[in-house]
């Protein structure tokens, strides 16, 4: 067991990667065996993630050096800098890994029924496991080049999964847009990595952070990294590809893509806090992120309320909610250089933003899954063609209501817990942030009521008299996320103490991040 925990950082990435290549082979023998392999694999990885989380909560940051005689030997003898591939796992990495574990498991169970009638399921599950491995890699890697590699793995598999249902023309367009945007973002990350490597001969984030001089080239590298990752998360005005791609993917994949967006957001946080946290311009960068976050929240929701395609509607809401996270963490970054303000409200703002990532990771995939359930049953995403579906889809309607109340921040649902934390703390930075946040919340509720009425309410329509509730695996997938919502709703204090504040502190404490790889920083 101890050896399993010791090697868990690499096993969490390697096991789904290996299973991805086994999946088509097993799938040729039996579809059921393949499904057992995929689910068993993800369940085992979930066990490793929770074991590693417990270990990190007790022992602090874990580093894992590949190819070294000992995993914690980051700098070989006779060398001054880390040269091997190093995984560095702290509170923020584990926070993201927990989210990814829950959502990928729920999405896979949902997929068992959602894509049951599609051809090419071996390829589907292979790509799904590749995306799982890629996103874990992004969360655990300690160096910039491997961040690029894992970003590529997650992006390429994501694009192929978006375009998976080849019988629809719009899936091909969505997949194409996703791969173009991802390729450009990855290229910018590679370019920025090259700029930093050219100056410092280093790729490791901790090592780079220790010697960072913040030259003009460093500033350009920061801009390349930041804007590339923010585009991948769908920050306005770089969001336009987001609904085009997310709308057309199978709903289970859309739910997972939301978390890959969070992984890119995590990468941006890692760049801003762990790599560039020691520079003097965090105030300006924090303001830039906060302003774009505000625009993202407001424009996202006003675009969402206008939509008539249920998945497009959900996509714009995903963009809008990401704005809250950017606002919270942006405020924390802006006051990072001022310890008094940081511990008066900055840390709480960051915790609010990070808490909202967790809540969003529960309710947004759930809402995408309910949108997928509507499509599964009616064969259309067009809300103008729906109505009265609650008569036959009672469970889906209840799950939709749970998601709606949560995303709208209605007490006592979990969305309220994170939003109130953001509202209270960012108010001290600038009151307009709180005011706009509340307006966005009101518009969110209004738009979800509109969609709920259109799809579920009203008399039973003649064309939908023969439909039935979605299959059980889809309900289980949605149920897992609804359970997550209820759990966080009941225990917001515990969840904050266990994973939210440790994640925020991991970002704030740059010295510990550097120390874990480089030894004691003078």
């Amino acid at each position: 067991m101890a050896a399993l925990v010791t090697h868990s950082p690499i096993l969490i990435i390697a096991i789904p990667l290996l299973a991805a290549f086994l999946t088509p082979l097993i799938g040729r023998l039996s579809g059921k065996a393949r499904n057992v392999l995929v689910l068993g694999n993800l369940a085992f990885v979930a066990f490793l993630v929770f074991a590693l989380t417990r270990d990190i909560s007790v022992n602090g940051i874990r580093v894992y050096t590949l190819g070294a005689t000992s995993p914690d030997l980051t700098i070989p003898e006779g060398v001054m800098v880390p040269v091997r591939i190093i995984l560095e796992v702290d509170g923020m990495s584990m926070f993201m890994a927990i989210i990814w574990t829950i959502v990928s498991l729920a999405a896979t169970i949902y997929s068992l029924a959602h894509i049951a009638k599609e051809t090419g399921q071996n390829r589907f599950y292979t790509l799904l496991l590749l995306m799982v491995a890629g996103a874990y890699g992004m969360m655990f890697t300690g160096d910039l080049f491997n961040l690029f590699v894992f970003l590529e793995i997650a992006s390429i598999s994501g694009a192929a999964l978006i375009a998976f249902r080849t019988r629809f023309a719009d899936t091909q367009e969505g997949g194409f847009k996703y791969i173009v945007i991802s390729a450009i973002a990855s290229l910018m990350v590679l370019f920025a990595t090259g700029l930093l490597y050219g100056q410092y001969n280093l790729l490791n984030i901790a090592a780079l952070a220790k010697v960072m001089e913040y030259t003009t080239l460093d500033k350009i590298a920061l801009v390349l990294l930041l804007i590339a990752f923010t585009m991948k998360t769908g920050m306005i005005p770089l969001h336009m590809w987001f609904p085009d791609s997310y709308t057309v993917a199978p709903a289970s994949i859309t739910g997972m893509l939301v978390i890959t967006s969070h992984a890119c957001m995590y990468a941006a946080f890692r760049v801003c806090f762990s790599l560039y946290g020691g520079i003097s311009d965090t105030y300006v960068v924090g303001w830039i992120i906060t302003v774009f976050g505000l625009l993202t929240a407001f424009i996202g929701v006003t675009m969402a309320v206008y939509q008539t395609d249920v998945m497009r509607f959900m996509s714009y809401h995903a963009i809008s909610q990401l704005g809250y996270m950017w606002m919270g963490v942006g405020v924390g970054l802006a006051v990072l250089g001022n310890p008094e303000l940081l511990y008066t409200y900055g840390r709480d703002a960051m915790a609010g933003g990070i808490f909202h990532i967790l809540n969003h990771a529960m309710y947004k995939p759930l809402l995408f899954f309910t949108g997928g359930a509507l499509f599964h049953v009616t064969g259309t995403r067009d809300l103008t063609k729906m109505g009265g579906l609650a008569h036959k889809m009672k469970w889906t309607a209840i799950l939709y209501i749970i998601g709606t109340l949560s995303i709208s921040g209605i007490p006592p649902l979990n969305g309220f817990s994170s939003k109130i934390l953001i509202y209270e703390s960012v108010y001290h930075f600038h009151p307009i942030l709180t005011i706009m946040g509340i307006i966005v919340s009101i518009l969110t509720l209004a738009s979800f009521i509109k969609a709920f009425h259109s799809a579920f309410m009203g008399a039973e329509l003649p064309m939908y008299k023969q439909i039935r509730e979605v299959p059980v695996p889809m309900l289980i997938g949605m149920g897992i996320l609804a359970f997550g919502i209820v759990f966080i709703t009941l225990f917001p204090g515990q969840v904050s103490r266990w994973i939210i504040y440790p994640a925020a502190d991991a970002l704030i404490d740059q010295l510990s991040y550097i120390h874990a790889v480089m030894g004691v920083v003078p």
């Binding site: 173009v180 450009i184 007490p411």
Partner: protein, 116 residues
């Protein structure tokens, strides 16, 4: 075990909300129990009444998504016209936005650097 979520400026306890919710539900149930006792489910009492007019078929009387918040969109027509314009669906346009935002951010950081 505590449910209290302390944010530093207030506290949050979902348990109080659940108790309040159950209380409100009890009041609603009490009021409902005092309703019309002679109501018969499935009888003419339960039919839709529109001033004696013929009631349209379900698919004709369902208020569709495009009719909801019509006034909101009409009032904000200018805003929506301007905000929908950049959503061309063409990926080349999206990349122009990417380049523009990257350039703007770079200029801001470089100018801030020069002022120090």
């Amino acid at each position: 075990m505590t449910f209290i979520r302390e944010s530093g400026y207030a506290f949050w306890n979902p348990l109080i909300w659940f108790i309040a919710f159950i209380g409100v539900m009890a009041v609603v149930h009490f009021i409902r129990m005092r309703g019309q006792e002679k109501y018969k489910k499935g009888s003419a009492q339960a039919q839709i009444f529109v001033c004696g007019e013929e009631v349209p078929e379900p698919d004709k009387r369902h208020i569709r998504v495009t009719n909801i918040y019509w006034g909101f969109f009409e009032t904000l027509k200018e805003y929506y016209n301007s905000i929908l314009r950049p959503h061309t669906g063409i990926i080349n346009d999206y990349i122009i936005w990417f380049v523009a935002v990257m350039a703007l951010t770079a200029v801001i950081l470089l100018i801030v650097g020069l002022t120090k």
